[in-house]
């Protein structure tokens, strides 16, 4: 399984702080598994993606395997 973690207001759109999806998972598979409103928001370049704590430069090239953790990160609002 791949764990998907939603940060900030993305957790509200997802309806939960995290989700488990089947592996392997690519960008199209992730978008398809999420509520439509959330999938559309993710296309906004200000929303970043990390896999296992490393930011992904090209979201469309996302590849996650079993045991990986994907984090969906909206713009930070600061400390």
């Amino acid at each position: 399984m791949v764990t998907v973690v939603f940060l900030g207001k993305l957790a509200d759109l997802a309806g939960a702080p995290s989700l488990s999806l089947g592996a392997p998972l690519d960008w199209a598979g992730l978008r398809a598994a999420l509520p439509k409103a959330l999938a559309e928001v993710l296309d906004d370049p200000r929303n970043r993606v990390a896999v296992n704590g490393v930011l992904v430069a090209d979201k469309a090239g996302l590849r996650a395997g079993a045991g990986d953790e994907i984090a969906l990160l909206p713009p930070v609002s600061g400390g």
Binding site: G8, K9, G53, P75, V76, S77, G78, G79
Partner: protein, 150 residues
């Protein structure tokens, strides 16, 4: 002396400063900033969310940048996460240096980066409802000051 921490419960900044100062013998100055939850706009509570794999490593990278940019002897950077109430401290940054400008500059530098480039998400509770806080343009402008060509 370098002390970088994320805390999930109330802390007393004053209790950190004495030991931090003592841990940097021979210093010429210490500059400390403490940020607290403001009690304006009917804010009942503030919640800061972080993402473990990015937030603390990001604070360590910020400390590395501060040590590279300023002539520091020590840096203390403590940040709260979780639910806080007005009057509670959110952040404490303290820098010890041989000369005041490095201490003052390092604290200013760290605060501007913590306020707009660190991995935190913030929401406020007003009238019993939670509202996410969007990034502020002023915070971005404050950050940009450090990246202008010299």
């Amino acid at each position: 002396m370098r002390d970088i921490r994320l805390l999930d419960r109330l802390f007393i900044p004053g209790a950190l400063i004495g030991p931090f100062t003592n841990a940097n013998p021979g210093l010429g100055g210490v500059c400390t900033f403490v940020g607290e939850v403001r009690s304006d706009n009917g804010v009942e509570a503030l919640e800061l969310t972080h993402y473990e794999p990015l937030t603390l490593p990001g604070m360590h990278e910020l400390a590395d940048s501060a040590f590279a940019r300023f002539d520091l002897m020590g840096l203390l950077m403590v940040h709260r996460v979780g639910v806080m109430h007005p009057g509670e401290p959110i952040v404490c940054v303290s820098a010890a240096a041989r000369h005041r400008r490095d201490a003052i500059g390092a604290v200013d530098f760290c605060m501007d980066h913590l306020k707009s480039a660190a991995w935190f998400w913030k929401r406020e509770k007003r009238s019993g409802q939670w509202h996410w806080i969007e990034p502020r343009e002023q915070d971005r402008a404050d950050l940009a000051r450090w990246h202008e060509p010299i």
